[in-house]
Amino acid sequence: MTERMIYLDYAASTPVDTRVLDRMREVAAINCANPSSTHAAGREAQAIIATAAGQLAGLLKVNPGTLVWTSGATESDNLAIAGGARYRAHRGKHIVSMKTEHKAVTDVFEALSKEGFDVTWVEAGGNGLVSPEVFAAALRDDTQLASIMFVNNETGVIQDVEALGTICRERDVLFHVDGAQAVGKLPIDLGALPIDLLSLTGHKFYGPKGIGALYIADRPGCHVEPILFGGGQQRRIRPGTLPTDLVAGLGMAAEVAANSIESDLEHLGRLRNLLWDGIKDIAGITLNGDPEGFPGILNVSVEDIEGESLLLALEPICVATGSACNSKSQEPSYVLRALGLSDSQAQSAIRFSVGRPTTTDEVAFAAGRYREAVARLRELAPGAAA
């Protein structure tokens, strides 16, 4: 490939911030101990982890003791949903979510349904948002857990988690939020929001892969059963030796984010507007999701274009046709189908996602390349003018 690669897939993963990398190198160089060990080196590792917990707690405005380290958002989602539902199963087995959630959520619900849990999928409107009224109507007397994602990974739609969480509090339902696309990108005050469980992962906000966390609110009835067994670490909620350097990296990513969220949001908003302005007059183009959604994500479909060919024609731009975790399936996005898009519209969908390092030149190039690719594929299609 002779052209320079342009990475516009920040919703799939972000580069590790240099400050994060420096912190991880520093920790890896000075400490090799198991943080569970009680000797001096082990206690030093514990202190490093405590510092990271403080940094992440500062970002989320919570007590560090409410955080449990995991391997990432998928594990956090599994622990929150399966662990939360099983913990409260003696009170009822009805659980609620949406079809537009990430597979790390929907697949857990499917698994729980095989254990005898009764699942209700709440419908989103065409803009991807679930109304509080529709959500409230889905809750029953035996509902024990609901899971709604903060920012949709494909469309950038931001759910009103405050309104939905308030309904859950009134009905004594555990409220889990998949915050993988929100943490470190939107201001989140868990001290004020009625969220019981929040999943996050480091690599979505310039931290390392392989490390995440689950926030568990410190309030009565809010607890999860472990899904892993084998040690007493982390109050037995999530056993296993903690990777000190990765935890330290996630902590530093949280500290960096806490100081840059506002400027990041302004930057991303400018970039998304520039990109959309550059392509919005293409015949048959539609913006998928809510125009007021997270500014780092722009999801568009265009009529009569085959998505896989569009993706290749866009190279050297790295974008996604759907969730990166699902992109090998080549199936139309189930998230966009749930929003009412046809197979054809969903199949042509491209998710551009910009990040902190993205430049206006890169976005301008991407808009131009998108226009060229659509025009070329239309010219190639049967029925084009001779």
């Binding site: 085959e306 024609a313 190639l380 001779a386």
Partner: protein, 122 residues
Amino acid sequence: MSGDPYSAAVRELFAAPTHAGTVADGTRVLVEDQGMRVEIAASVAQGQLSAVRFRAWGCPHLIAAAEWACRHYENGPASALDKFPTDRIMEDLAVPTEKTGRILVLEDAIRSLGRSLTSKQT
């Protein structure tokens, strides 16, 4: 590149197809199946395919295969259109087996073109 779903041949043929388009006053067939659309056009002079062109709506493998087929048949005998080298295309372009159906859509178009040309001659 590790994990690349496309062979170098697919990338080259997809990026710069020299046989995309149509043939003015030629014979043209359109086949639609499995969500794919392939149009093949050709002109014949003294039993030889003097020009073969394609238009396609589908995945990169289909577009690359259509370009490959046009190059393969052009300047050859029209009678060759009843023999479609599926295995050779699959091998030359390293088409994954799950996409065999898409190559068969192209085969249908090529064979249909052959039948159409034959019916015009008789």
